[in-house]
Amino acid sequence: MRPLDPRLLRRSRAARGFVLAGGALALLQAGATIGFAWALATLVTRFIDGAAPRSFGGILALLLVAASVRALSGWLWEWVGSAGAMRVKAELRDDLLAALERRPGGIRNLTTARAATLLGPGLDALDEYFGRYLPQLVLTVVATPVLIVAVWTADWVSGLIMVIVLPLIPVFMALVGMATEAVQRRQWQRLQSLSKGFLEVLGGLSTLLVFGRAERQVTRIRTVTDAYRSSTMKVLRVTFLSGFTLELAASLSVALVAVSIGLRLVAGDFTLAPGLFVLVLAPDVFLPLRNVGAAFHASTAGLEASRDALDLLDQAEADAAGGTGAPATAAATVAAQPHARGASEPDPAGLRIRDLRVLRDGSPVLEGFDVDAAPGEFVVVMGESGSGKSSLLAALLGFAEVEGEAALDGEPIGAATRSRIAWSGQSSQLLAGTIADNVRLGHADAPGALLDRALRLGGVDLPADRVLGPGGTGLSGGQAQRVATARAVHRLLATDGRLLLLDEPSSALDPDRERALGARLRELAREGRIVLATTHRAGLADAADRVIRLPEVARV
């Protein structure tokens, strides 16, 4: 396992800054530690030798300064660590959001829920990673060698002991890890399901009450938690072994160094001052490595988080570069055809679709679709669920991969035509804020009269200053749907767009409201725009100029 993903350093300026600042700090800390050990050893030795105390003011001052510098570096580490975490998180978050925006149709294998987790709690794992693990890692890499050189200079035997023992620690830890991996993996699954036991009981409490099963859960909670304890302890007995290895190696080498120095002192081969110096320094040589071991969990969680994020960025970039399935490229294949036919098409105004094929994850969800819609027309597309209605709209927005010909006013459909299209999806997807904020999304500076008109056309009968919660909570399904429709209408009016796409705008409306909506959409179309709505109910279709039925597709 790599301790630090090199891609993180390549991509993130903040991560590089952290490593540089940390390296400098580690050198400072190593210097202070050596100064402290030297001052303490010298003072003790000289006092024992009976020298006059007056001459030691300078060394005592050095001792205190070194201790203070060490404390200061500890303080700075907190700063560097937390600032590093925050900045790297902000960078990754921004990059990831930008990557998602370039592919609004979705990135393969990435659900919305996973993306939200990845960007939120997922990245938070980097707090501990930068705050606790990486500082110790940098110290191990930078400070430990400096300290060993200092020990070696004072006493090469002790230096040699450390040089031999230190590399053994990771080796032993790896051996313990390998030997216990199988046990761990066996326990893990069981542990996962046991750890959820309490949440399941609480979450299903009303269900348990309905079935008169709630009271007996007290004993069950105890049993499940106790089973969780014994399983976890089995895992921990093994997990803590690697910590034990570290601790044992560190304290045994201190003992080894102390005894070896003691025996050479007795023999008269050595002097007290370097002996004490090495003794004071020895625990500090092992400290960063011990802390790395202690922060092992923080490292795996943080690595996983950064790997997930970086993988996603790489994949997004590879998709964009390779062009396999990227909507932008698919639109380009479409591009050639309308121009070739340009001569035989005297009037390219309106929407023209020929033999359209829409693909999702490489397989077709809609095939052989033809439609022509002239400005002023209200067209309704009918079809059962799964017949590809939503995919058709996604294709017209340039969100989906398509083959065939699709053009708006002679220009091939793609990201560029999006500016002339307004759209409302099957789910309302409102945002936190007022109804007016929602309706004016993306066009906040449009004149107020447009807002009123959009609200009327959408059929919103609520005050525009009503505040909605996150995700537009606080409205019923039908109300939310009408606000979403008004939002699309507002964009159409604000941009003087050509095409209004509405996906099931009446699925949560009662028949009266549905009929009224149909009439208003017709009115909107008469102004010289194209309105294209999908539905599975007859109510909306009655008002349309034209109804296109999608054949039922066998659902996979």
Partner: protein, 582 residues
């Protein structure tokens, strides 16, 4: 901090006998650590005087023993500490659950919102750290510190005083920084973090909309600004935590210098020898390392306290008036003649029924950004309603008309005013559990346990054989689907992640069929189903429910009226007169 949170914390402290092994092992590990340095220092300083090797052998053995002891005791301490914490966790969880039970489900915030539930469970589980990260390390460290300073005092009282003084100042500074500055920063950080997370979730979920409306870049800029604000707030916290770390790091060096200065006159006066002097000068370093556990524990206490506070808030002290309680002497509800035959469906008769939802976990809900508590379902006002035995009644009405409130009154989750009779009995006089044996509910979002299909069905009737379970699956139209997935062993996933909304409804109905409720309330069974499949699902559900039980079907989108015997409409706000449907 409130008294109730204190009480929650106290309950999380394990009894002495459970704590003792880990504390003793912690003391042994800490003492080994101090004695390792002491014996090493003595060994080296004494060896420099070049005595016969024999005089050093005890120290050599000591050095090795303490080195070994430190590692072994630390390992055992960690195991014993975790074991004690997990044992306590069982007590904590069961205790909290017992306090929740009388309030469940409608008196609890956590049962209304998934995110609150996850946080509540996290908070309860956080309480195990009272033992693991606070009580046990603090007690062990305190014992070691007292013993070590007593040892110093035995060698040189002045040194002990100097070291003790340095420690007291350092620890006090560290704790103060943790308690005051870091606590203030935490209070500022929490809402900012929530805001950022909410913004990210919203951005990702509404990404298609944002792109289609050219609003994505603006949204991303907003998230970047929130990130910057969070970074600034984090700096304050880092400086506080940094002060604590720096204080503990400085304390070792300063204590060593102080001890050295205090012991030097003794050495010069010949009252202590050189090796003792070396011990006095070096041991403060090891003592400071032991002491560094204290500010860390204080930091943990801060986290645990916040959790305890939230747990205390989530469980109201008194049962709100809106939550039904079991009457002291409940009236028996038409006892079934034998356990196997089921109660015949009684008539339901509601007169002037009013009901509303209790205020729950106010602080929690607002902290989570719940705007105006709009999520709380509406009240029910002066409702008259009759449901005849075996009747199929459709209750329609917009969101906010109080349909779910009605469902919860019917199954006795919510208290009511007015009169609600089951047959001849006033429901208020009955044991709520008896009511729920007669009136069953299939919830809007039925909870599926992360087990297999068998366990998700069998808890409704644990005597049911596999054949019976398969038969009921067949009735709700899931036989084929289940067979494809491995029959009753098919997993349903976490919160039913592996099944669709319609399948979850069918499974929930199958459970209700197994429990064989004479009266069945279906609350918005089509809420999480595509609009164009809703009617088909309703048809299947009602057919499976059969004609021999009363069904109250609640739906805001309505239902084909030929499926039901009668339809009524609830109107929000007004006195909710029930109007006869078609």
């Amino acid at each position: 901090m409130s008294d109730r949170a204190e009480a929650v914390l106290r309950q999380a402290v394990p009894p002495v006998r459970r704590l003792l092994p880990s504390v003793l092992l912690g003391v042994a590990a800490g003492l080994s650590s101090v004695l390792l340095l002491a014996s090493s220092a003595w060994l080296i300083a004494r060896a420099a005087e070049q005595p016969p090797v024999l005089y050093l052998s005890v120290a050599v053995v000591g050095v090795r023993a303490f080195a070994l002891g430190r590692a072994v005791f630390r390992y055992l301490e960690r195991l014993a500490g975790h074991d004690a914490a997990f044992r306590q966790l069982a007590t904590i969880r069961a205790g909290v659950f017992e306090r929740l039970l009388p309030l469940a489900p409608d008196g609890l915030a956590s049962s209304r919102r998934g995110d609150l539930l996850a946080r509540f469970v996290g908070d309860v589980d956080e309480l195990q750290n009272v033992s693991l990260r606070i009580v046990q390390p603090v007690v062990s460290a305190a014992v070691v510190l007292v013993a070590a300073i007593a040892g110093l005092a035995w060698l040189a009282p002045a040194s002990a005083l100097a070291v003790g003084g340095c420690l007291a100042v350092g620890i006090a500074a560290a704790i103060l920084a943790q308690q005051v500055i870091a606590a203030r920063a935490d209070r500022r950080l929490a809402p900012l973090r929530g805001e950022l997370q909410a913004a990210v979730v919203e951005h990702v979920q509404a990404l298609e909309v944002l792109v289609a409306f050219d609003a994505a870049a603006a949204g991303r800029a907003r998230i970047r600004r929130l990130g910057l604000r969070l970074e600034r707030a984090t700096r304050l916290r880092a400086s506080a935590v940094g002060i604590a770390a720096a204080a503990m790091s400085a304390v070792g060096g300063f204590a060593a210098a102080a001890s050295l200065s205090a012991a030097e006159p003794l050495l010069a006066g010949g009252r202590i020898d050189g090796p003792t002097f070396a011990v006095l000068c070096l041991v403060p370093l090891a003592i400071a390392e032991v002491a560094s556990a204290l500010p860390i524990a204080v930091g943990s206490l801060r986290v645990v306290r916040a959790s305890a506070e939230r747990v205390a808030n989530a469980v109201p002290e008194e049962i709100p008036a809106e939550v039904p309680t079991t009457p002291a002497e409940p009236v028996a509800l038409l006892a079934p003649t034998s356990t196997s035959t089921r109660v015949p469906a009684p008539a339901l008769r509601l007169r002037g029924v009013r009901a509303r939802w209790p205020e729950v976990g106010g602080a929690d809900a607002t902290a989570a950004g719940d705007v105006g508590r709009t999520g709380a379902p509406a009240a029910l006002d002066a409702l008259d309603l009759d449901v005849a035995p075996g009747e199929r009644l459709l209750v329609e009405g917009e969101s906010g008309a109080g349909k779910t409130t009605l469902a919860h009154v019917l199954v006795r989750f919510l208290e009511y005013k007015g009169s609600y009779r089951l047959g001849d009995a006033e429901v208020r006089d009955l044991d709520p559990r008896d009511v729920r044996r007669v009136v069953g509910l299939v919830e809007q979002r039925p909870w599926l346990f992360d087990e297999d299909l068998r366990q998700n069905l069998a808890f409704a009737r644990d005597t049911a054989s596999d054949e019976e379970l398969l038969a009921v699956l067949d009735r709700v139209g899931l036989a084929e689907w289940a067979a494809e997935r491995g029959g009753l062993d098919a997993p349903v996933g976490e919160r039913g992640a592996l099944v669709s909304g319609g399948q979850a409804q069918r499974i929930a109905l199958a459970r209700a069929m197994l429990a064989d409720f004479p009266v069945l309330v279906l609350d918005e069974p089509t809420a999480s189903v595509d609009a164009d499949r809703a009617d088909a699902l309703l048809r299947d559900l009602l057919e499976a429910a059969g004609r021999d039980r009363t069904v109250v079907l609640i739906s805001h989108t309505g239902a084909p009226h030929e499926l039901v015997d009668r339809a009524v409409t609830l109107r929000p706000g007004t006195n909710a007169p029930v109007q006869p449907g078609s």
